[in-house]
């Protein structure tokens, strides 16, 4: 039996190799992989040129080499190929996008940001992990897939960081926002955009849980730090970090936060009226909450909060709906009051 095992394993190995060779066609795969890598290189170069164009700087061979981490020889070959394809022009040391090149670059940016929006809204991927996933996906999506994704997401205007998403025609709505360092004291502001590069600073912003949609007030500004408040917690930010957060006048959500509470903060038996869904709640989860009838004006009553208070069951429009704490926290309600006795059922059934 000793030999039997060896022969058996050899035979299985040979069979597997053979069938894998036929099945997976490694040569064809390798070619596809090469093509994909080539596309990724082209597109990364285009993105780099676009970024420099936006900040009105001249991209150079050196800056491109630093961004793509390619050897001099391969980089020059890449530039020659891209120039031959009519994607860029070189003026001395400076590199500029051609109009085709710019269109392509915008398409990549569109793919990147749409994919981030999708991951954040529909798959619940945390803000800090979006960028890397999108860096890979942006090179794989076809224009048809992009349009389908755009339609599926309801033509979103901004990605989860707050960056504008270019349209299919390449139009970009510029961001009208100020860096947090320039915002006046004690004026309510809404974060519109957090810069996701450089990563070190972005990680700090994510760690403070400051994200687009959050309402903040600048409480104190000093040369070495800023103190801001999001209504509950005070954050202390260095000016470098604060400069990467862009804000504008608060337009949405509760104007007087004191009056509104989150549905998650109501206790069992409390009844209230829905004021608004948090602007932070987007995509699928927003559609879901709306579909369940949690629209402004609807009466809600917390009926069950079992072990550990999570999830809780809420009576809305006559039906009983279970929500996790995170979902319940996205519903702002007003006029929370305890009602006891029989009347509470009548109240709930009429809503």
């Amino acid at each position: 039996m000793e030999n039997g095992w060896i022969w058996f394993l050899l035979a299985v190995g040979a069979l597997l190799t053979g069938s894998l060779w036929v099945r997976l066609r490694p040569l064809a795969r390798w070619h596809r992989w090469r093509a994909l890598r080539e596309r990724a290189l082209f597109e990364d170069a285009l993105k780099h040129l676009l970024t420099f164009e936006h900040s009105s700087r001249d991209a150079t061979v050196e800056s491109l080499a630093g961004s793509l981490r390619l050897s001099q020889k391969r980089l020059l070959r890449l530039i020659a190929r891209m120039e031959a394809a009519g994607l860029l022009h070189s003026h001395g040391a400076a590199l500029h996008l051609s109009s085709e090149g710019k269109q392509w670059a915008l398409r990549v940016v569109r793919a990147h940001r749409l994919w981030e929006r999708y991951l954040a809204d529909e798959a619940g991927v945390p803000l800090g992990e979006l960028h890397h996933a999108a860096e890979r996906a942006e090179h794989r999506l076809t224009p048809e897939e992009l349009d389908a994704l755009d339609a599926h997401l309801g033509h979103p205007l901004r990605d989860p960081h707050g960056d504008p998403i270019p349209t299919a025609t390449g139009a970009v709505t510029p961001l009208e926002a100020l860096p947090l360092t320039d915002w006046p004291l004690d004026q309510p502001a809404q974060i519109l955009h957090v810069e996701d590069e450089p990563e070190v600073i972005f990680k700090e912003i994510v760690a403070e849980d400051l994200r687009p949609g959050t309402r903040v007030w600048v409480l104190e500004r000093r040369p070495e730090y800023l103190i801001i408040s999001d209504g509950q917690v005070e954050h202390r930010l260095t000016p470098v970090v604060a400069a990467n957060i862009h804000v504008a006048k608060a337009i949405e959500g509760p104007s007087q936060p004191a009056e509104l509470v989150r549905l998650a903060d109501l206790v069992e038996g409390e009844e209230a009226e829905v004021a608004a869904l948090d602007p932070d709640c987007r995509g699928f989860s927003r559609r879901r909450l709306l579909d369940l009838g949690l629209t402004p004006g609807a009466r809600v009553r917390v009926e069950l909060s079992p072990a550990f208070g999570d999830p809780r069951a809420v009576r809305v429009r006559g039906s009983l709906i279970a929500l996790r704490r995170e979902q319940a926290a996205q519903v702002w309600v007003r006029g929370g009051s305890r009602s006891d006795g029989k009347s509470q059922h009548a109240g709930a059934s009429q809503s």
């Binding site: 798959a123 987007r282 699928f284 989860s285 709306l290 579909d291 009838g293 629209t295 999830p311 039906s319």
Partner: protein, 468 residues
């Protein structure tokens, strides 16, 4: 005017639409839903008159009880135990009756074939191979299913299952999974393939995939006979007869709980490694309690579920029965093919506390797990065909006295039955639902790997401590 219309190109329209869309703001969807609800409310106010409803009071009281922090979970376990106990206790007698009837029919048919002078191998293949496999599956599976599924449908109809999902959600949330996974697990008790299909109710693709990949950790109806047999032979035997079926039900509940534990652990692992992500929106409607309608229960549980699952089992049992008969009746060098394969698999089997015969049975049973036990018994007896069901005492004597089964064998077989690759139908269903070879492969091999690992660990631990 007409000039302007003519000079508009499709491109202009698109650009204009783009600009307009940007002015809409992100909230126009909200406005649409709000206006729909306003309209619906307006109509409802005119057409529907509500009175204070006593029905709701009762609903609320029941809800408070079944979701209470103190009684919720114990009540759920109690209901589960009762269902298993009724299934085990109630299926015993009809199973024997069916087996007797079906095997009696086989004996008559064989006599008839012999009288007609048909060659032994045709008779053997058809009746001792194909038909006997079929008879086993029908007699072992039909009665438990005919009891289990209606009871389960009653719970479903009552509206109790969503409450279970509600009670268990905090666990699934910790595991990074969706609360509705509890519902798909409940479906998995009937059939894992059905459980995999039921994951369609989970909207987040990540959480749905987790639910698909872990559904197999819920023992399905095809695996219950194995669990029930082992529980009866090895666990119930240690208790007085009056308590025997209760103890057996308790052991099955323990296995189910272990399966739930693995579901949570693996979900937790998946959502931190290859399926990274935060828990998505969880919303679940808790429908009002309804009085179950008898006709509907009978229909959905007997026609939709029992017959469907049975039919599937029959389709796979027929070729499996044929394969077993061929393996057992073709001899090379003085031993049957089955014997050779079992000897070959034996070292691996022993390493995980089982033996070669059991592993071979699991290989043959890839299409349908129902035939694991009959295959094992058949090969131990060396009869060249599946044996007839003749009471648990005899089976116990065969396994323990003649083939050296110990408590370790029984425990590890229960573990392996819980943790091994899904059956062929489930694998096929995973492929149909995910359309991905990668996830199908993960779904098939991950539980198998876990099964080997766990049984190997228990076997090694037990041997190291010298308990066996």
């Amino acid at each position: 005017m007409s000039d302007r219309v003519h000079t508009l190109t499709p491109q202009d329209v698109l650009v204009r639409a783009d600009a307009l869309q940007r002015k809409l703001g992100g909230r126009f969807r909200d406005k649409i839903v709000e206006s729909l609800y306003d309209e619906a409310e307006r109509i409802a106010r005119r057409a529907v008159h509500t009175r204070t409803d006593r029905h709701w009071d009762l609903d609320q009281r029941i809800d408070r009880l079944v979701t209470s922090p103190i009684f919720g979970m114990p009540l759920m376990l109690f209901i589960l135990a009762v269902i298993f106990w009724v299934t085990i206790a109630g299926a015993n007698y009809p199973s024997e009756l069916l087996a007797t009837g079906l095997f009696w029919f086989e004996a008559r048919a064989v006599e008839l074939f012999n009288a007609w002078g048909i060659p032994w191998w045709i008779t053997g293949f058809l009746w001792h191979g194909v038909y006997r496999g079929l008879a086993w599956v029908v007699s072992v599976m039909l009665p438990p299913m005919a009891i289990f599924f209606p009871m389960f449908t009653i719970l479903e109809d009552l509206g109790y299952l969503p409450r279970v999902a509600f009670n268990l959600d905090w666990l699934f949330k910790k595991a990074g999974a969706h609360g509705k996974q509890a519902l798909t697990m409940a479906m998995g008790f009937g059939c894992n393939a059905a459980g995999v299909i039921a994951t369609r109710t989970i909207d987040s693709p990540r959480e749905r995939l987790i639910a698909i990949l872990t559904n197999n950790f819920v023992p399905c109806n095809g695996r219950f006979p194995t669990l029930i047999m082992l529980a009866t032979i090895f666990v119930a035997a240690a208790f007085p007869p009056a308590l025997a079926s209760l103890a057996a039900a308790g052991a099955v509940v323990a296995v189910v709980l272990l399966g739930a534990l693995f579901t949570l652990l693996v979900s937790w692992g998946l959502s931190r490694t290859i399926l990274k992500g935060e828990a998505s929106a969880f919303t679940l409607e808790l429908p009002p309690y309804r009085r179950p309608s008898v006709m509907r229960i009978l229909y959905t549980s007997l026609i939709d579920r029992t017959l469907f699952v049975l039919w599937r089992a029959i389709i796979v049992a027929i070729p499996a029965g044929a394969v077993i008969w061929i393996l057992a009746n073709i001899s090379v060098g003085g031993a049957s093919l089955a014997q050779h394969t079992a000897d070959f698999l034996n070292p691996l089997g022993v390493a995980i506390g089982l033996d070669g015969v059991i592993l071979l049975a699991y290989v043959i049973a890839i299409p349908a797990n129902e035939i694991v036990v009959p295959t094992i018994l058949m090969m131990y007896l060396g009869t060249g065909m599946m044996i007839e069901l003749e009471g648990f005492e005899q089976i116990r004597a065969l396994l323990v006295d003649q083939h050296g089964w110990t408590l370790l064998t029984a425990v590890n077989l229960m573990l392996f039955s819980l943790l091994h690759n899904p059956c062929g139908t489930t694998i096929w269903t995973i492929w149909k639902e995910t359309r991905s070879r990668k996830w199908t492969l993960v779904g098939a091999l991950m539980p198998l790997g876990i099964g080997f690992l766990v049984t190997f660990l228990t076997a090694t631990a037990v041997r190291a401590f010298g308990w066996i």
